[in-house]
């Protein structure tokens, strides 16, 4: 166990619920704290009777939703302004194509809900970035809050209940959750790349299907002078 995690657990045990709320809030804003492990440990201590599991659940959901909202607000206030500036400035125009910001906003509006929901419990490391991105992309706040609360409820309940059920083995469960989360991330990347590869392959197939027509047209134009030999006035000598 890292010294950092040990210090965090020590603080949570000594100062109780307020320390837990603050650490979850900080992690939700985007600081990389091992909060899943802390929740697993808190669940284990709740089994001992040191914490109340219902109060723990309420505290972790409220803290993480508050932190996520702060991340969203930062993105909405400053991120969107920075993006608009990049879109307009000559510096940004080198990297961002015209209308690409509007397109990305439309895309995020369509698919962002899943990203928000899944990043709360499945790939928790991406949570802070997704919050900022949601604000920056001006994702509707109502939907953000809905997906956030749903995801965070699962994100709090899973480690707390696992810690509560398995007590002393919570650190081993933490390893399982960590590797499972990485596996899920890898799987999502593989699926994304496969879809991209399929799209490229379809595009290549389409262009191959349309290319013979162009070739035929070109070849007819090119072949014509060879069929009709040039007249002597053109300056070319007729072949023997």
């Amino acid at each position: 166990m890292s010294v950092f995690l040990s210090a965090l657990l020590n603080t949570v045990q000594q100062y109780g619920y307020p320390a837990l709320w603050v650490s979850i809030f900080i992690a939700a804003v985007g600081l990389p704290l091992p909060i899943v492990l802390v929740l697993l440990a808190a669940g284990a201590f709740a089994a001992l009777g040191q914490f109340n599991i219902i109060l723990l659940t309420a505290i972790s959901i409220s803290a993480s939703v508050a932190g996520d909202n702060l991340g969203y607000l930062i993105g909405r206030l400053w991120g969107s302004k920075a993006l608009s500036w990049l879109e307009r400035s000559s510096f940004g125009k080198r990297f961002i194509k015209p209308n690409s910001v509007a397109r990305s906003r439309l895309y995020f509006k369509k698919r962002g809900g899943w990203a928000i929901f899944l990043s709360r419990f499945l790939v928790a490391a991406l949570g802070g970035i997704i919050n900022l991105l949601s604000g920056t992309e001006l994702y509707p706040y109502r939907y953000f809050l809905l997906f956030d609360i749903a995801g965070e409820t699962l994100g709090a309940l899973i480690p707390l209940l696992l810690g509560f059920a398995f007590g002393a083995s919570w650190d081993a469960i933490g390893n399982v959750i960590g590797s499972l989360s990485l596996f899920t991330l890898g799987l999502l990347i593989v699926i994304f790349l496969c879809m991209r590869l399929l799209r490229y392959a379809r595009g290549a197939q389409k262009s191959r299907q349309s290319s013979p027509v162009i070739q035929n047209t070109l070849s007819a134009a090119e072949v014509a002078p060879m069929i009709d030999p040039p007249s002597p006035s053109s300056g070319h000598l007729p072949l023997p």
Binding site: M1, V3, L5, S6, L9, N10, Q13, Q14, A41, A44, F45, L48, G49, Q50, F166, G167, A168, S169, D171, A172, I173, N175, V176, G178, S179, L180, L182, F183, G186, L187, I189, V190, L193, C194, R196, L197, Y200, A201, G203, A204, S207
Partner: protein, 139 residues
């Protein structure tokens, strides 16, 4: 050419991602096996499962040994000051190496089990002795 480059780049990335995914899958299976082993040991009350994050009350509850007995064997008199302190912090508090502290606790638990062999001592799910019983058993 551009499309071919894109295709090649995506293919290489896909291979890397596949490798990472397979590695993580193997790691997940290993971690699950390790968890099962650890949980089995912990459930049977094996003292090797004592960890640095555990507090004295946690150990007392989990291994069915009176808290007072543990504190006494560690020569700790001020019970309240160490109640919510994990072993790692406790080792720093009493200026002792962590491994030695864990070793002493393991010995104390084993000694207690030798002195008071009960069917509940090695079972995690068994009923914990009542406070009165603990007080009477306390040497």
């Amino acid at each position: 050419m551009n499309a071919r480059l894109k295709l090649m780049g995506t293919g290489i990335l896909l291979c890397l991602a596949l490798g990472l995914t397979v590695f993580c899958a193997v790691q997940t299976v290993k971690d699950i096996q390790s968890f099962e082993q650890n949980h089995k040991l912990a459930s049977s009350g094996d003292v090797s499962t004592i960890r640095s994050w555990m507090t004295v009350p946690f150990i007392s509850h989990f291994y069915h040994v009176p808290e007072g007995y543990l504190l006494e064997s560690l020569h700790i008199t001020n019970e309240l000051s160490v109640r919510h302190v994990p072993l790692q912090a406790l080792a720093g508090h009493i200026k002792r190496p962590l491994n030695s502290l864990i070793h002493d606790i393991q010995h104390a638990i084993l000694n207690y089990r030798k002195q008071y062999p009960t069917p509940t001592a090695n079972s995690r799910h068994a009923k914990e002795p009542s406070p009165g019983t603990v007080e009477r058993k306390k040497p």
